[in-house]
Amino acid sequence: MAHPKSKTSKTRRDKRRTHYKASLPTLATCSNCGATVKYHHICPECGYYRGKQVIEKEIAV
């Protein structure tokens, strides 16, 4: 099997990793409560999805 002749330097390793980037998810606002939600996800604040109550959320008093 082929083996690397020399260790990859920190600089070389870090230069390779400059292309590793986090991408921002596409966001929308909840039609019920106006919270910021991910597309195709149930609203984590109020439990609505496409205008309908899907999960019962307890409202803090």
């Binding site: 195709h40 996800h41 149930i42 999805y49 205008g51 309908k52 109550q53 899907v54 999960i55």
Partner: protein, 218 residues
């Protein structure tokens, strides 16, 4: 190559996977809704839906076939007694998967998988609202898009000008930063510098004037 790799192994051996899906399927049938990861829910969907279809035909043979997959007599009797009646009119698509976000700890995509016929809130409102809603969105979308596009066109040229000037400045800065090119080009640059110094002197006032014009436009 992905040839013939149709189903997700879920990181388990065949027996482990079958046992897990059997447990999940009986949980889903007994409690109608379970929360799990998206990958497991999608695997479970292909596992339970044929069993529910099988349950529409209540014979000893089909009960035994379904029991061999579920390994849970309570779930089998629940499926044939209650679920099969509710599901009778539905030609497949008995389950619904709704995403609920990512799990703390391993950031796994979580979801809810449920039996469609047991969620009454979704059933009533979808049948009433489905058709008119779609039409409205299509008509409204075109009208809203047209003026928005025009506004965007008007806004764009100004933005492009700004970005162009910004880029030009950045390019100059980048050239200054790179030391390797400088050493190579020094000889050339020295020759050019005499000529370019005069040229830049002429260019700079012009640039400043153009920038002022743009500010006025804004």
């Amino acid at each position: 190559m992905r040839h013939n790799k149709k189903f997700n192994h879920l990181g388990r051996t065949s027996s482990h996977r079958k046992a897990m899906l059997a447990n999940m399927a009986s949980s889903l049938i007994e409690s109608k809704r379970i929360s799990t990861t998206l990958a497991k829910a999608k695997a479970l969907r292909t596992y339970v839906e044929p069993l529910i279809t099988k349950a529409k035909d209540d014979t000893t043979h089909s009960r035994r076939v379904v029991f061999s997959h579920l390994q849970n007599k309570n779930a089998v009797s629940e499926l044939f007694r209650d679920v099969a009646v509710k599901v009778a009119d539905r030609p497949g698509g008995y389950t619904r998967i709704l995403r609920t976000g990512n799990r703390l700890g391993d950031n796994a995509e979580m979801c809810i998988i449920e039996l469609v016929d047991y969620n009454e809130a979704m059933l009533t409102s979808t049948e009433e609202a489905a058709k008119p809603k779609r039409r409205r969105s299509r008509r409204g979308g075109k009208k809203e898009e047209a003026p928005a596009a025009e506004a965007a066109k008007q806004a764009k040229p100004v933005a492009e000008k700004e970005s162009a000037t910004a880029e030009a400045e950045e390019v100059k800065a980048v050239e200054d930063v790179q030391p390797v090119e400088e050493t190579e080009e020094k000889a050339e640059a020295e020759v050019k510098s005499e000529a370019s110094a005069e040229a830049e002197a002429e260019e700079k006032p012009a640039d400043e004037a153009s920038e002022e014009d743009k500010k006025k436009e804004e």
